[in-house]
């Protein structure tokens, strides 16, 4: 599975020599209050770059009355399994346009799978436990990452050229909870910052 992946990258580099040079991109994300924002998803849409392919298995478990992980980034078409690792029942649902589904997980270690075939964010909730919130971030971009505790996101090997940076966080009060901006990524790499304004 890894080889075709590498080959694809090589193909891409050969096809667009000008963008063959890969650059590191780091983005500092801050919240509306100006402090580093953790748990935000930054995606980089680079025109002409190959879309991410599903590989491996994607798991969004329910453990200790919470989704684990809270945010799961999956490529379009990925199948995500929802194992119930709690002793209580869960009723997982999503009313998001990206993927609407309902999983009545009424037993310990019951696993059900859902295929996310559309880019977008599916907000996951449990009809029994209101506090449970999780997100499945479905994206076609290969460059998608979650900001760490200090709000940092880093990408390596990003082709230089123009790219669209998209920031997603549930607190962003905008359609789709996202903000976008375009950036020119020099070959030397880019270090930029994004603020999640309301």
């Amino acid at each position: 599975m890894r080889i075709p992946h590498i080959a694809a990258l090589a193909l891409a580099a050969a096809a667009w020599p000008t963008i063959c040079a890969a650059a590191p991109v780091s983005i500092q994300v801050s919240g509306a209050d100006g402090r580093p924002l953790a748990g935000a998803v930054v995606t980089l849409a680079v025109p002409g770059a190959p879309p991410a392919e599903p590989h491996g298995s994607y798991v969004m478990a329910q453990h200790d009355i919470a989704f684990e992980p809270r945010i799961l980034i999956v490529p379009v078409g990925a199948s995500v399994s929802f194992p119930n690792r709690d002793q209580v029942r869960h009723h997982v649902y999503s009313f998001s346009p990206a993927k609407k589904f309902e999983l009545k997980l009424y037993g310990f270690d019951v696993t059900k799978s859902v295929v996310f075939d559309k880019a977008g964010v599916a907000a996951l909730g449990c009809n029994i436990h209101d506090t449970m919130t999780g997100f499945v971030y479905v994206t076609a971009s290969a460059y998608a990452a979650i900001s760490d505790a200090s709000g940092r996101v880093s990408f390596s090997g990003v082709p230089a050229g123009r790219a669209t940076l998209t920031l997603w966080h549930p607190s962003i009060r905008a359609p789709g909870n996202t903000m976008s901006q375009t950036a020119a990524i020099p070959t030397a790499g880019l270090a930029t910052s994004m603020a999640a304004g309301r």
Partner: protein
């Protein structure tokens, strides 16, 4: 409580203008005024305390009500939020919202509106689109979730005249995918519902800003005003209680600004509590104070009237008594108690008695003669006036008897005033005893008068007069002196003799005068002729005064023929008055008038001077005889007058012969004799005239050695026909010769008489046989003629 406060302000302004005319009202007004002031002070203090208490109480009530309101407001919000949350959490609803199922959303909202009793419910999507509300309200609802600060769930907005409370609840799936928003209009019903929940009868209003930013109530219950603006503005930070002056009355009020979507309030809740209601619990206290005040005021007024009365009544009685005293009435004040007023009353009574006593004494002195204690002239006049007036009505006669004592002056002079006074008192007593039916008065000097008025019979005046005359026939015993007195009386009876007091008194006086003229010691009734005579006499008096000044007097001279020397030895000077209109006035007519008026003194002096002056033109042996009135003789300086006349004319005193009648002795012998001796000492001769008439008391001849006796004409007239007369003349002549006195026979008219008289030894004769009285020139001629004749003889 306002009304009395105004009265109090007006009263002090009016009080000084009032003028009380009696002490009672003055005292009552003073006490009532003081009480009213005091009461007003108490009422004002009470009002202040009540106001303060009410304010405190209402403040507490209102503040606690405000807190309760806050809680109610919050409860209502929670209830709304709860309803919204229920919907927002509904799985199916969330599913519908999440999937944008508009039909499902609307049906869910409709069923919710009925269930939660919410009129307007809407869903706002993340994209700001609204389901369930439209128009302006829809726009405000759409904006709400994006405007509200974190943590806020509700806001109050105004939309035109309406105010809405908006409550939102997020629709979580599980992140926010939209919001349920409820809108409740804050209308009158909503406010009343709130009011009902309050412990005190609050009025709750929603106020909002008008175009100019002033707060007002859109239902018109509160008009824009600075007070409300101020209240709302100050209430932003903390709770403020204030008093608002509203058209409906005063009210305590507090405001609660209602947060708008972005915090700034678009509306506020105004809670008010009418002051009248707040003060209502104190009404009975205020009424009680007022009623008690009125009652006590009434008691004070009654009490002070009573007190003032007890002070003022005796003072008023004193005042009336003083007034009565002023008008001359004797008054007593009942002395009440021993206080100052009682003492004053006693003092007043003593003073009143003293004044009345003194007044009586003064009145008595004014109307009584202090010597005899009989009514005086003033009293007599008043009584007579009164009697005459009464008589004019009743027609009864009024009699006036005037009397005086004959020769009283002599008594006074010879026996002294104490005896004279005692005599007058005695006479007064006598008259009172004789006339118990009349009013006896002493008019002055020795004049008395009696009024008869009490229905006397016609003969009473005459009888009384006679009784008086009879009573004084015998000498009166005064202090062991027996004094003979004579009384003359004049009587006038009104209305015949006079219609008024003046006339009656004057006519009685005229009658008295007549009685005296007629010889004293008798009474005369008034006759109209007396009045006429009196008029004539008065005219004569006036004429006499001018006669001396204008030289109407002249002297005529009648020779007295000396039978021994056979020549004219003397002329008797006779006064002639040539009246400018009446011609020659006989001396008999005017001498008495001159004597009565005292003019005889001046006339006599003139006669003396003129006679002496004239005699100087005659030969030295011719003397001049001058008649002298008793009145002249009474004058002690008469001797000086004689000496002056002699000195002025240069006439030898021996050539002057003073002729007196025995009447000069009537007023007492002593002084007259002394004067005669004075004259004799000068060298003046003294002749006794009219000898043989009257009393012809021989005692006079003994008391003074006269130079001559003049035998009265009445003897000479009948000397030839009546042997008796001849014998008397013979006796007189012999007497004279024995006393070394000359004799002159008067009124010799024929030679027969002359022969007879010559034969009897008369020294000289006087009469028409020799010559009538002649003028001065003729007198001179006559002397020479007779001298020639004697020389021839």
């Amino acid at each position: 409580m306002r009304l009395p406060l105004k009265l109090a302000l007006k009263l002090p302004l009016k009080v000084p203008r009032l003028r009380y005319h009696d002490l009672r009202s003055k005292l009552a007004a003073l006490y009532a005024g003081l009480f009213v002031f005091g009461f007003i002070a108490v009422a004002v203090v009470a009002q202040i305390v009540i106001d303060g208490q009410a304010q405190r109480s209402v403040t507490a009530d209102l503040l606690s009500s405000g807190t309760i309101y806050d809680r109610l407001w919050a409860m209502r919000e929670q209830s709304l939020v709860g309803s919204a949350d229920v919907l927002a959490h509904d799985f199916g609803f969330r599913s519908a919202v999440g999937s944008g199922d508009r039909a499902t959303i609307e049906s869910a909202l409709t069923s919710l509106k009925a269930r939660a009793n919410v009129p307007i419910a809407a869903v706002v999507g993340l994209d700001g689109r609204v389901v369930g509300a439209d128009g302006a309200l829809g726009a405000r609802i759409a904006a709400l979730p994006f405007a509200l600060a974190e943590g806020r769930r509700s806001a109050v907005i105004t939309l035109g005249p309406d105010t809405y409370r908006l409550v939102e609840s997020p629709v979580l799936a599980p992140t926010e995918i939209g919001w349920v928003v409820f809108a409740v209009r804050l209308d009158a019903a909503e406010m009343q519902a709130l009011s009902k929940l309050s412990a005190i009868p609050l009025v709750a209003d929603v106020v909002q800003r008008d175009a100019r930013g002033h707060w007002y109530a859109s239902d018109g219950s509160l008009a824009p005003g600075a007070a409300i603006d101020d209240l709302v503005a100050r209430s932003q930070s903390h709770r403020v209680l204030t008093t608002l002056n509203l058209p409906s009355g005063k009210a305590f009020a507090l405001a609660r600004p209602l947060e708008g979507p972005r915090g700034a309030p678009e509306a506020a809740l105004l809670l008010r509590y009418p002051t009248a209601l707040a003060l209502a619990p104190y009404r009975p206290i205020q009424f009680g104070i007022f009623a008690a005040g009125l009652m006590v005021l009434l008691l004070v007024v009654l009490g002070s009237l009573r007190l003032a009365g007890s002070i003022a009544r005796p003072i008023a009685a004193l005042q009336r008594a003083a007034q009565a005293l002023e008008e001359g009435t004797r008054t007593e004040v009942a002395a009440c108690g021993t206080d100052e007023i009682g003492q004053l009353a006693e003092s007043f009574n003593r003073m009143s008695a003293g004044i009345i006593d003194r007044e009586h004494r003064i009145a008595h002195l004014a109307f009584h003669d202090s010597l005899t204690d009989l009514p005086n002239r003033a009293f007599f006049r008043e009584s007579l006036d009164e009697k005459v007036l009464r008589q004019a009505r009743s027609g009864e006669p009024v009699g006036v008897l005037c009397l005086d004592l004959d020769g009283f002056k002599g008594i006074n002079d010879t026996m002294g005033h104490p005896v004279g006074d005692a005599l007058l008192r005695r006479v007064g007593q006598l008259l009172c005893a004789l006339a118990p039916d009349g009013l006896v008065a002493r008019l002055g000097g020795d004049e008395f008068a009696i009024i008869l008025a009490e229905g006397f019979d016609d003969d009473r005046p005459r009888a009384l007069a006679q009784a008086i005359l009879d009573a004084v026939i015998n000498p009166i015993n005064v202090d062991e002196h027996f004094i003979p007195i004579g009384v003359s009386l004049g009587i006038a009876i009104g209305p015949h003799d006079g219609h008024n007091a003046d006339q009656l008194l004057k006519n009685a006086d005229l009658a008295l005068y007549r009685a005296k003229q007629d010889g004293r010691g008798l009474f005369r009734f008034f006759e109209p002729s007396l009045d006429q005579a009196a008029r004539t006499r008065r005219q004569l008096e006036l004429d006499l005064r001018s006669a001396l000044r204008s030289g109407q007097f002249s002297l005529a001279y009648q020779p007295i023929y000396d039978l021994n020397a056979e020549r004219i030895g003397c002329f008797e000077a006779l006064l002639r008055w040539e009246h400018p209109t009446r011609g020659n006035v006989p001396p008999i007519e005017f001498i008495s008038v001159a004597e009565d008026t005292g003019m005889i003194i001046a006339i006599g002096e003139w006669v003396l001077h003129e006679a002496c002056r004239q005699a100087m033109s005659w030969p030295d042996h011719v003397r001049i005889a001058v008649n002298v009135s008793p009145l002249q003789f009474r004058n002690l300086s008469f001797a000086a007058v004689v000496m002056q006349a002699l000195a002025q004319s240069g006439l030898a005193p021996q050539r002057l012969e003073i002729e007196i009648t025995e009447s000069v002795f009537l007023d007492g012998e002593g002084p007259v004799v002394a004067l005669l001796h004075q004259l004799r000492a000068i060298g003046v001769r003294i002749a006794l005239d009219d000898f043989g008439t009257g009393y012809s008391s021989l005692s006079y001849l003994r008391s003074f050695p006269f130079d001559k006796l003049k035998i009265d004409k009445s003897f000479v007239d009948t000397v030839t026909s009546d042997t008796c007369t001849a014998a008397i003349i013979s006796s007189i002549v012999d007497l004279a010769k024995a006393l070394k006195m000359e004799t002159t026979a008067e009124g010799v008219e024929d030679s027969e008489q002359l022969d007879q008289l010559r034969g009897q030894g008369c020294s000289s004769i006087q009469g028409f046989l020799i010559s009538r009285p002649v003028g001065s020139v003729a007198a001179g001629r006559l002397v020479r003629l007779h001298e020639d004749r004697s020389a021839l003889a």
